[in-house]
Symmetry: D2
Subunit: 390 residues, 4 copies
């Protein structure tokens, strides 16, 4: 549904998403779920022919199905401002995020980018600089922060319902890597095992950064230092596929980030547990409509995603599309990141300014923090799991 | 995503959905989730002014925001065939379904209608006749049948994995009616308590028919006879809000349908349990991505909605948009009913014929069965819960 | 642990329990769990030799291993009062409960009897009369009422926490009957299929009566009338193995009792759901330490079996042996029925009187109600599921 | 029930258990659950008067209610061998375990001792030496290893069902420490905060050692090195109440042990997750009858504690007392440790020898490993979470 602040859909350009992976389709569906955006242009594959062939599936006019992101930017800039794409979504392998994002920002386009933001810290700094100079929106799709119950948790913690946070444990556990076969034609996610395309962080970058982001998103705490141990257990894989990072957080809280892509039979099991001096929370992504709230001596309370419940916080309510009991899930959470970014795009396009440091959607600074997390974990792991300052 | 069989979105007219309720927005989101339809016209409220005011929210051109369903049909018929709506979605109070559906079918439009199909059997027969005469698609949004795991269950049963079905228990339990207040301005669902708008069936029609449909959808069994006892416990309500129907099914199986809208704190708790001679199944709508399969002496098995798993049936795979562990939920299930209807609309529009009796989406005959279920339950309840033949 | 009101263990005689079944061992373990009783005599099998052979397993002196219940009563009466058994536990097939119980009561022994109390109403009346005349304790091991969370539920309801009760649904679902093989030597529970040993009620008596008792235990409501439909689906079985009973309860509440022993893969799945005008409860025997309490607009609350929690009622606390989170289970619940009966035995043995109608353990009147429930269900089922007055 | 290898109950002396804590009663109930032991003597409190006063509750003859463990040993040795206690159970504060155990072993008594075995490594070595010299049974009540599903997991892993183990995560999370109040009279567990009684390890010793033991019990893997970070968040507490230990295990597997007693509202939440190259397992102590087994591409399987299921391993079956669905819990698991120790006591008392290194119950070597784990964690934590070799 179009909200009050918007009269027509935003025009979107999709970069990547034309291959065998599912993340491009997720961006497309999430961006258009509320009819707030329409995909009008695409550079869907690094293979120009595949890029054009995929366009029809996304309903893109062949004339705006470009062979590369450079062509897309160049072609769109030639169009009148009221036809040109307003923003691009970047759903390409990790090592290309930085050049694409920087080029788009410099062209005056807003950017919504998949994570991790870049494969190295230098590039991350460059993207931050480009975003700041451009005055455009830059949003990173740490989509799990879009779940209403994670918004609920964040707000409850910000309002002091948990007291002081003493510990957070975020776990992201999958098992699909056991199904990879190095002798077969590359399949979905194959590039994730290739350091030249993916960066040095394997599962650390693919899922660990999501868990790390979520821990910070919900608690508001940043690391002071961390140590990491990671391993590579899969025989078809050069990078880490299992790891733990231990964090000393602001004010003395303890953080633990666990990631695995080699835990048999686990699908997409991101979970988080947060301990405060007054109460504690737990949540699982695979059952996203419930948040468990516990306090000594009181019954465990199951908070439902329920826009009509008095206990629901305003940020949770804003993130709901359906009444309680009518479950919302992955697409809606992903769409919430888009929708929040759209609000800022509309503000900026109207000449208003936006505080880039306090967005509810993951920002370019969150993106740099994620890259720093990967960097520090890699450093620690190479140095016998020694502590690294943040 | 547009599938191979479709090159441009279908044009949709939305009837109803402009009020305080959420079901109109659900139809809009579900119909457009995959970009296979676009809403181009609406008659969104029985109040013409509200109808026009609501149009912008749905992105409808004011010129095609009509004051009534009659105006919509009349106006659209004046447009060239390649601009005219292809189908209408009916999301109005129950007593208006029949006249709207019949008028739309007679105008050559395909119809997607909310449930229950009508408030009485005579009207149901008239809708069946109109659908048959029109040659158009008629789909009923018993949306819970759109969940991939219900498709999985249906196919497993059809293929004999459960052996002979001996019993099915379907329960639809809510509690929101405890929040109604007769002294306040009508709120969402207030018409559901008014027999002139809703029909004689209260919760029976609102949720009981969903449970009844799901039991038949999954097992393929029809009642031979039934008995029912229902009550009205809420003080703000004239119609039934709690009931049980006991069914003798084809071949001697036992059915039990339970419905409640007065069970405190339950949100939208539709669940189903099916017992066969070889295995048994359970499923809950609020955790829709899991289907529990049990067989004596074997571990309980949790089948996940997972298009990549070998155990997933073809109908379940076809109903998935995301990999396992990335939960899908209410919108996607609702959208599956739409998407299946779209396939038939495309077939018919190409001059192909469709077997109206074997659609995976709920048909006009399923609609009539639902109305018959209400009728027989009301009869039984008025006659001391005596058995009624089907 | 011996409580304050008891200085030495009570002396117990066990009748039945020497065969392949497990229920005799359950009585033995439950009765002695707290060291409040010691088994000193037994008539463990209808086969005198097996009876004597089994005695050592229960730690029974061979001199007090009797060949029949008659011999046991006769033999024990010859012993000095301070050596003689104080009570007998009856764990024999159903058709023998009445004669054994009546003989024991007439001999001045307290009786703890397995359920159902008898196979017919006349016998049930005779047991009631014998109990009343004897002045002895008669307790029936509807053991599920011994779970702390069922005590909690009962007390919460009695104290009005749920408001007025409008509906109760009790389900007892097993699947083991699919494993029976009529061609094999009788196995555990084989007598349960034989009407001459078990009575006319099959699963109705075996599990249905447990569910019926629990519904009444927790809500305090009695039926005014009921109807029943039951079936026999297992080919190796002459009696009902699946059924539903619909109850009109005191004051207009609706009851539903469901039983099955042919639901594949379900082990011992007794569950109960209770709807009140202020709140609703759910509980499952297989996860007995949690009670779910729900109220419109509030988070679902999980009450834990936790003697240190303020929310725990006194009856729940009295039924606990361990702190919260240290799970208690089947034996402890069974032992609570024993322990409550022991308190009354001690009272009576001290010359105090006990109100036989208000015991927390299931009484002889509860036993008669259970037999009446079976009788009425059988009547209704034979009369086309017509309503039977209580 | 007395098993075939035992004709009369063993005679037990209980040391500790007379105070406000519950662990003494747990030992008493667990030891006698199967009627394989009877408590005949006690030194129940370090306060001689309280020791004698508590005796009656345990059914101990006042003549054998001793004022101290020394008196108990001395007094019992004066009795004829066929009256004397066969074994003592030690349920006292940690710092007394070693002197009591050593004295008992030297007196020729078998010993069942609570954990952690000692508060320091030197003492642990002394207990090992005393056990070896004595030839008596020494069992440590790491009771969670007594759960049937942990036996199932151990055996499945030993038989290769999980392939090679690559990772194990064991978490023991409680929250009761938030309820402590330093201004009040000492309550249950107060000594656990006092380093002179408890040793330097706080929650590490109280719960962390349980998690560590369970990880080794199930996987059979030992640490090669570890690092630890722990904190003290509770203001009423001098010792650690929260910690993580990261372990490099035999053959390169990764271990993580997490402990907390400051996680609000968590009761006794011990859980374990084990990843192998062929399958993965998860289990939670608070729902002990289920073991979740997962393998890529297959449905999640819930193994039930079920002695009649073909999938149950022999060690799981041996640890069951009830059919599946009749839940067993804490007492039964604790009793399994006792029962396994009883088997060895009977062997040794018959002159047989027992391989002290391959017992299914936790051995004196497991006890020393637990103390080493505490020692290494304390060392690492004091040295900036550096790696410590095992």
């Amino acid at each position: 549904m179009l909200p009050d602040n918007q009269s027509t859909p935003l025009r979107m350009g999709l970069i990547g998403g034309g291959g065998a992976g599912f993340i491009g389709k997720v961006h497309a569906t999430a961006a258009t779920l509320d009819n707030r955006a329409v995909i009008v242009a695409g550079a869907l594959s690094s293979d120009p022919q595949r890029s054009r062939d995929s366009a029809s599936m996304f309903g893109i006019d062949p004339a705006r199905a470009y062979g590369s992101y450079r062509e897309l930017i160049e072609g769109e800039l030639k169009l009148p401002a009221d036809q040109r794409v307003s923003f691009v979504s970047i759903a390409t392998p990790n090592h290309t995020h930085a050049p694409i994002a920087i080029a788009a920002l410099k062209a005056g386009l807003h950017v919504i980018c998949d994570k991790p933001m870049t494969t190295g810290l230098d590039e991350a700094d460059q993207v931050v600089a480009a975003a700041e100079e451009s005055g455009r929106v830059f949003a990173l799709t740490h989509n799990y922060s879009g779940y209403p119950m994670m918004r609920q948790a964040r707000q409850m913690i910000a309002e002091g319902d948990l007291g002081e946070i003493i510990a957070v444990r975020a776990n992201y556990v999958q098992g699909w890597m056991h199904g990879m076969d190095a002798t077969q034609t590359p399949q979905r996610g194959a590039w994730k095992s290739d350091p030249t395309l993916n960066g040095q962080a394997g599962s650390l970058g693919d899922v660990g950064t999501h868990a790390f982001h979520l821990a910070g998103f919900v608690t508001g705490l940043k690391p002071e230092s961390l140590l990491c141990r990671m391993q590579s257990y899969s025989e078809h894989h050069q990078l880490d596929d299992y790891g733990h990072a231990l964090l000393q957080l602001d004010g003395g809280a303890t953080g633990l980030i666990t990631w695995s892509q080699v835990t048999h039979g686990r699908l997409n099991d991101l979970s988080i547990e947060i301990d405060g001096t007054k109460a504690a929370l737990t949540w699982r992504q695979e059952e996203p409509n419930q948040l468990f709230v516990r306090s000594l001596g009181r019954p465990t309370q199951i908070y439902e995603r329920n826009p009509n419940a008095d206990y629901s916080t305003s940020q949770a309510v804003d993130a709901c599309r359906l009444p309680g009991g009518h479950p919302e899930a992955f697409f809606e959470a992903f769409a919430n990141v888009y929708s929040n970014a759209f609000d800022d795009i509309l503000e900026i396009d109207c000449g208003e300014s936006v505080d880039r440091h306090s967005t509810i959607y993951p920002s370019v600074y969150d993106g740099r923090d994620g890259v720093r997390f990967m960097d520090r974990c890699l450093q620690s792991n190479q140095n016998q799991s020694s502590w690294q300052s943040w």
